[in-house]
């Protein structure tokens, strides 16, 4: 095993309370690198086809990459499991301090199988693995549990993943709270953890991640840092994190407003860096090893919700819990998002679900509960719904805890006409009616409605250039090729595991130089695209095996049926023909047949077909 890797996975079986390690096979490292690549292959090989996401066979995996835990700037970790929300592949990325600690404890990844008989937490102290009772922690919120475990272990430096009540209660879009208050947010990994009765994972490591060629590595790190400093996008992240995107999305008509009924919001600036810097922010904070420091820490000091510390309200949360609910008070939005973080539920999906419920209330699908009026702009209603969902203690909470797809089915009628999701994952905060390629991105993302697997929107709506040609926002020609290129590169670098924001500056040649110096094996800038293409076929194969219907490579009905009421792309909506054109083009360029299945030739060509099967040693 070359340097930079630790060389082994830690397996823990909660049924038998046993643990063991297995070497990372050389073929796996050479073909899949780490992170998303390892996760996609392991998930495919470890679970029986069609397994229940809440069954003991579904592994909860936390993967690192070869550069995680080194001084290579802006690296992260990822959680991989089968999603209870979509029934398909789920990879959810997180920053903070947890993922390096996995490597310091001696592992490239954690693979947790089985289900405990009663609430437990896992304590990984280098090679000492303990399954500890957690009855006393059950019911605590995600941040309380973090504090309790540190107190119990008498060490404030232990790094912890934890779930809140939402994960315990099986809310399908529960998150995992990652040291500290970073979220593996999307797709319900927290509910999988809850189904295992696993409240938390605490790790402490005393080993080092070593580098083959330290001098070359230092030079590559300097180069990466220089590229970050030279990037305007990175500088913007340093100044205001993702918050300025609220104004950008508003000006370009992409901002979700009132459950995506509109694409602009009059009071958008209240929610952007303009409002947040005035009402919330006090300092900048960084994830481990990151010079960007995109996080803006602060506090709600005044008003009805005064007295709590808040992180930056990220764009996705500000939009989906703010404008999407017709709420313009950023302090109220910060309050709602903090409740989600504490209860351990994805604030993006929760915003989508509440937007759906508010519209359902206004349209008479749901009777407003006692004393609560389900209507846009009502903060009290939003808070009521968050609590109802997290604790599933009333009928409405039970329905909404299943996500908008299932909730719409439960309500019946034409409720699905305003259920904003793709394949069950609630839509991200980019209404794509003015950006055709962005629609295709959501139609084809491997975990459902996701903006992080390739987001053409900023290029499309600003008339940016792609490969030397101006990009037309509403054009469908060429969008599949552009998107595939983005998807491949991002999936390829999600093996490192890089942060998307670091990727705004750091060039593929520099990632390759970091890898070469770290491992002593030669890497090339081009290999990320190839790696990404391989992974994209691997996850597609997995999803098809698990029952994905390619007819679901589509958009929420609203984007097809309802013209955008305002903004520069007013009047536009997706046509069935445009969607069909792009999907056909996409399948063809991917080497998939007309029904969206990768062909045998493609699987061979991208190197999926001949990969060995990973076998776990114990059963």
């Amino acid at each position: 095993m070359p340097k930079a890797y630790m060389g082994k996975f830690l397996f823990v079986d909660l049924n038998s309370r046993t643990s063991w390690t297995q070497e990372v096979p050389e073929w796996m490292r050479l073909n899949l690198m780490g992170g998303k690549g390892f996760g996609a292959k392991l998930l495919t090989d470890l679970i029986p086809a069609g397994c229940d996401p809440f069954g003991p066979e579904n592994p909860l995996m936390v993967m690192t990459g070869p550069l995680t835990g080194t001084s290579a700037p802006s690296m992260r970790g990822c959680v991989v499991t089968k999603s209870p929300l979509t029934g398909t592949f789920l990879d959810s990325y997180f920053g903070g301090y947890f993922s390096p600690e996995i490597k310091y404890a001696g592992y490239d990844g954690l693979i947790i199988l089985g289900q405990a008989q009663e609430p437990v937490y896992l304590w990984i102290d280098d090679e000492t693995i303990e399954v500890r009772p957690a009855k006393h922690l059950w019911g605590q919120d995600a941040l309380e549990a973090n504090e309790s475990i540190k107190t119990e272990l008498k060490d404030q430096t232990v790094k912890i993943l934890s779930i809140g009540p939402a994960g315990e209660n099986g809310v399908l879009y529960s998150l995992i709270s990652c040291e500290y208050n970073r979220q593996a947010g999307r797709g319900g990994a927290g509910a999988v953890m809850g189904s295992k009765q696993l409240k938390a994972i605490a790790v402490r490591g005393s080993q080092t991640v070593t580098i083959q060629d330290s001098d070359a590595f230092r030079r590559a790190v300097l180069q990466a840092n220089t590229e970050l400093e030279q990037s305007e996008d990175v500088q913007a992240m340093r100044d205001g994190g993702t918050a300025p995107a609220v104004d950008f999305a508003n000006e370009t008509g992409l901002l979700p407003c009132r459950n995506f009924q509109d694409g602009t919001f009059e009071q958008a600036s209240n929610l952007s860096d303009v409002g947040q810097s005035k009402h919330l922010w006090l300092s900048s904070a960084a994830c481990m090893g990151c010079p960007i420091r995109c996080s803006k820490m602060g506090a709600v000091r005044t008003g009805k919700y005064a007295g709590f510390i808040t992180d930056i309200v990220e764009y996705e949360s500000a939009a989906l819990m703010g404008s999407n609910l017709g709420i313009a008070d950023v302090r109220a939005v910060a309050h709602l998002v903090k409740l989600c973080d504490r209860f351990g539920m994805d604030s993006m999906s929760t915003g989508g679900v509440i937007g759906f419920a508010m519209e359902a209330g206004e349209r008479g699908f749901i009777e407003s509960p006692n004393g609560i009026t389900l209507e846009f702009g009502n903060v009290q209603a939003a808070e009521y719904l968050i609590r109802s969902i997290a604790f599933v203690d009333n009928d409405l909470g039970k329905i909404l805890a299943q996500g908008v797809k299932r909730a719409a089915a439960a309500l019946g009628g034409d409720a699905s006409a305003f259920a904003q999701h793709v394949k069950g994952l609630e839509s991200p905060a980019w209404g794509p009616r003015g950006a055709a390629g962005t629609g295709l991105a959501f139609m084809t993302a491997d975990r459902g409605g996701c903006h992080q697997r390739g987001l053409p929107a900023p290029l499309e709506v600003t008339g940016g250039e792609w490969e030397g040609k101006p990009v037309q926002a509403l054009a469908v020609e060429g969008k599949a090729a552009m998107l595939i290129s983005m998807q491949n590169y991002l999936a390829g670098t999600d093996t490192l595991v890089k942060c998307d924001f670091g990727g705004f500056g750091i060039q593929p040649e520099t990632y390759a130089a970091l890898l070469t110096a770290a491992t002593g094996e030669t890497h090339f800038a081009e290999e990320f695209d190839q790696l990404g293409e391989r992974i994209w076929n691997l996850t597609r194969q997995f999803n098809l095996r698990e029952g994905l219907d390619p007819a679901d490579d589509t958009l929420p009905k609203r984007f097809i049926q309802d013209p955008l009421p305002s903004g520069p792309f007013k009047g536009h909506h997706f046509s069935v023909q445009d969607m069909a054109y792009m999907v056909k083009d996409y399948y063809a360029l991917r080497g998939w047949d007309e029904t969206g299945q990768p062909t045998t030739e493609t699987l061979k060509q991208v190197g999926v077909q001949d990969l060995p099967v990973f076998e776990k040693k114990r059963h």
Binding site: G69, T70, S71, P100, N181, Q207, T208, S283, R293, D311
Partner: protein, 149 residues
């Protein structure tokens, strides 16, 4: 540029905690230099993350005037460096007993498993890596006992 000893009490690091973002890059580069690989726990400085990460407080080796590390060392392996005044460990003398780390008031002395020796801040001979690597200027090398306003 490396600083040299200009005052009798030598050089030391100070932290501007209000600029610290908690990224631990200082610890990463320090651990690699002292222990041959990355792990912030093995650095000769650390950051305390406080109040849900609203505040980050670097804890540094202060090159104490009353150095417990030097005082407890059973083999007199610790003494002032002629160039910087930093309290440095002579690896040839150090027996790796860990007493210096145990009694360090700031808890910033680490142990190198490979060499079996204790490691502490030696100010990188006057050009500290942590100061160079800090992205915000939160760490500074100063001359102790210098002119004050």
């Amino acid at each position: 540029m490396p600083q040299t000893l200009q005052a009798s009490q030598g050089l030391r690091l100070i932290a501007h905690f209000d600029l610290c973002t908690g990224c631990e890059i200082c610890q990463l580069v320090c651990s690699e230099r002292l222990c041959g690989g990355f792990n912030p726990r093995l650095a000769a400085l650390r950051i305390e993350h406080k109040r849900e990460n609203l505040v980050h407080e670097p804890i540094l080796c202060e090159q104490c005037q009353n150095p417990f590390c030097q005082n407890v060392c059973p083999v007199q392996a610790i003494g002032p460096d002629e160039g910087t005044g930093a309290r440095v460990i002579d690896p040839d003398t150090c027996i790796g007993c860990g007493l210096c780390a145990k009694y360090c008031p700031r808890q910033v002395i680490a142990y190198n498993k490979q060499t079996g020796k204790s490691v502490k801040c030696d100010l990188c001979n006057g050009d500290p890596l942590c100061v160079r690597a800090c992205p915000t200027g939160a760490l500074e090398l100063i001359v102790q006992g210098g002119e004050h306003a």
